[in-house]
């Protein structure tokens, strides 16, 4: 097959049985790969009511047909499972070098089921696949695990693993690959930990066949074009922390647990500051021309020490402005700690934000935690992050996430998220389409299922008022569908979302790789099919309109800053139109008619 490797690997951890099966070409055609194909597999096979942290849950590692093909930014994979944080289906994706190794070893997906009796890791050397004892590395942080496994297997091995947070079932534990990249969200690391699976190490030497290499050579020209666009230049130079300036300038930088939209110390934690103080060098994921990654190191004379990657923008928000930490070194330290412990920086930050507000209100006290936790207290935040990952003291409670804490301590309104997952770093009160996106995303407060920055803030393709509901349902639907397709291809959303003609370009690349002509409309249709499939999955678990919510802070408390001052998110109004345009019932359920149209029924 062009694009796909044609083989799915199955690892039944309870019995230790390893098997390989042929990828069904029809499923590949209809659901592509990544979250699309994986959700289809889950819908067909998973006992939906299962405990996400029980042996019945399935954990799928999956790349896409464009991974390692020379199209733009093709170094990604996704982890798809039933989330222990949200209870929904979830997809968490990551770049780095592991995804390319995983694909070139010859597999489109690895499906884990069951639970190993004792800690194991999976070693894949092309066709050779074996489960190995991981007792000696259980408990280790992600960098140590990476180093040890590379020594035990092959110097070219690429490793994805969990840290103590995943082992201890922290509800927002991540899977860290290449010691610094994260499939971070929705607690995929906890699912891996619940299966006693410490790591997956891979070495791949096979090739990915493509139908039309000439067309793919054009990607180098397009990459040049992306890099020369204003945003592209700034992106290459400053990485994602460039967004700190954009969000602050537009008063959508979530600050103090989303109470505000402007962070006064933004200049202390932005891309320029990273270049000045911590940057070692820029780096790219495998097969990516954009190099937005940041290899950093804390200065020798700094209060905190360490090395690693980041922070990325989302962390500048979550563990920076969101908890009022304007000290780049402290923020960077927290980022390293989350990576080493194997924890999502975003939900770690929104959990701390919830907790700091509960503390401010006097609902959580010093004696509950063993220490105070006022806004901006980086030292105690660092202490708490370690306690969360290590399952110590109050860390056990904080490990359950912000929603749990807000409910338990009697102020459910202070959790800033949707479906139990914390929001990303875009304040919806002054870009209300983003609010609709958070409310309707399959896994709640998520920034990768179709960010609305380009249309709402940067005015691409045309001017759009970020404060009103006008055109938002249409825009969010198209962003969600396009993104679903892009992610299913196993590529990074960035270049395609940066370019006005991104959907056209991904359709061309997809056609060139698989050898079947696809138009923009064709790929949007596939995206819509995937998005509806996820909705169908969640509906099967009882999720409806009553779960497509935002906290009252978004819908009732007026925005405090900038042109959006006084604004709130008109969610219900947008939802009505959104469901109608989606072809769903007023309760947000896909109709049979829609499902038939999409070929799902």
């Amino acid at each position: 097959m062009n694009g796909w490797m044609g083989t799915i690997l199955r690892i039944e951890l309870t019995s230790g049985v390893i098997s390989k099966e042929v990828l069904d070409p029809e499923l590949a055609r209809d659901y592509v790969g990544g979250r699309g194909l994986a959700v289809k597999i889950l819908l067909d096979e998973l006992k939906m009511q299962c405990d996400p942290l029980g042996p019945e849950n399935m954990l799928i590692f999956i790349n896409g047909p464009l991974t390692v093909t020379g199209a733009l930014c093709t170094g990604r994979y996704a982890v798809v499972t039933k989330s222990p944080l949200t209870g929904t289906v979830c997809s968490s994706n990551s770049g780095g070098y592991f995804p390319a190794a995983f694909k070139t070893a010859g597999y489109d997906a690895i499906i884990f089921s069951g639970k190993a009796e004792k800690p194991v890791y999976l070693w894949i050397d092309d066709d050779h696949v074996e489960l190995r004892d991981a007792s000696n590395i259980w408990g280790g942080d992600t960098r140590a695990t990476y180093d040890i496994i590379r020594k035990e297997t092959h110097k070219e091995a690429r490793v994805a693993c969990i840290g103590p947070a995943g082992e201890n079932l922290v509800r927002y534990a991540a899977i860290i690959n290449d010691a610094s990249r994260a499939a971070a969200r929705s607690g995929v690391g906890a699912v891996m930990g619940s299966k006693n699976l410490k790591a997956v190490a891979v070495r791949g030497t096979k090739g990915v066949k493509v139908a039309d290499p000439e067309e793919l050579l054009r990607s180098t020209i397009i990459a040049d074009h992306v890099k020369k666009a204003d945003l592209g230049i700034a992106f290459g130079e400053f990485g994602t922390p460039l967004f700190v300036d954009i969000m602050n300038a537009n008063n959508i930088m979530p600050t103090k647990n989303f109470q505000e939209g402007f962070f006064e110390e933004g200049d202390e934690i932005n891309g320029a500051e990273i270049i000045d103080r911590t940057l070692v060098r820029s780096k790219a994921c495998y097969g990516c021309a954009l190099n937005c990654g940041r290899n950093t190191r804390l200065p020798k004379d700094a209060k905190y020490q360490g090395r690693g990657d980041g922070p990325e923008y989302e962390t500048c928000f979550s563990l920076g402005s969101n908890i009022c930490v304007g000290d780049l070194e402290a923020l960077t330290k927290m980022n390293y700690l989350c990576n080493e412990m194997g924890m999502d920086t975003m939900d770690a930050g929104t959990t701390l934000g919830t907790l700091m507000e509960l503390y401010e209100k006097g609902l959580v006290k010093d004696e509950d935690m063993g220490f105070p936790l006022p806004w901006g207290d980086a030292d105690n935040a660092i202490k708490l992050l370690t306690m969360i990952a290590r399952n110590e003291g109050f860390g056990r409670e904080a490990a359950m996430g912000g929603k749990y804490l807000a409910d338990k301590y009697g102020a459910p309104e202070v959790f800033m998220g949707s479906k139990g997952q914390g929001f990303a770093g875009y304040h919806p009160r002054a870009m209300v389409g983003q609010g609709l996106l958070y409310a309707t995303s399959p896994e709640g407060g998520n920034h990768t299922t179709g960010n609305t920055i380009q249309p709402e803030i940067n005015g691409i393709p045309g001017p759009m008022d970020p404060l009103t509901s006008e055109g938002k349902a249409e825009m969010v639907i198209s962003r969600q569908d396009e993104t679903a397709f892009i992610e299913a291809c196993g590529v990074c959303v960035f270049p395609y979302m940066l370019m006005e003609e991104g959907t056209e370009i991904i359709a061309e690349f997809y056609s060139a790789v698989v050898g079947v002509e696809h138009t923009e409309d064709d790929v949007r249709k596939i995206g819509e099919r995937i998005f509806n499939l996820e909705r169908l999955f969640n509906h099967g678990l009882g999720f409806t309109r009553q779960d497509d919510t935002l906290p009252e802070r978004m819908t009732r408390e007026p925005h405090t800053d900038g042109i959006g001052e006084g604004n709130v998110v008109p969610l219900e109004e947008m939802l009505d139109r959104y469901y109608k345009l989606r072809g769903w019932s007023g309760e947000g359920v896909p109709t049979d008619e829609k499902l038939k149209e999409l070929g799902i029924l």
Binding site: G70, A100, G204, V210, A211, T220, D224, R281, K283, N291
Partner: protein, 154 residues
Amino acid sequence: MVMRIAFTEELCTNCHLCSMFCSLAFTKDGIFEFRPSIARIRVVENGDDTKYVAHVCLQCESPACADVCPVEALAKDPETGLVMIDEDECTGCEMCIEACEFDCLFMVDGKAVKCEVCDDPLCVRACAVNALELTEWDEESVLEQGELYKEVRL
């Protein structure tokens, strides 16, 4: 004049696009595939992720690889000055791999392979940060690149 692929370490981002596109030039039998493991250029990281180094043949003036080859499969082309490998002659003994102190030959499917400088090198075209360049051979830059290769081994 002798041409070679020059590499500037400071610009490299470790994206591996060079080896991906290089491999495309060497796929066979009308099948096009991206298979970095057959590439004639390989990127490696140093231990602490502070250097990324693309190993690609320096086209040495007196190539050690050719000197040790027991079947004379490796030789300098008198016209282009490039070190060329005769795939049919190569027995896969790996002596050239051992002899190259710059780690610029690689084993692929039982045979040694190396960069023989394509006319319009895809690695150079694919490099988005201009870390690779098709340039004229000169001793100073070759020595410098060679030192880097000895420091960050394959």
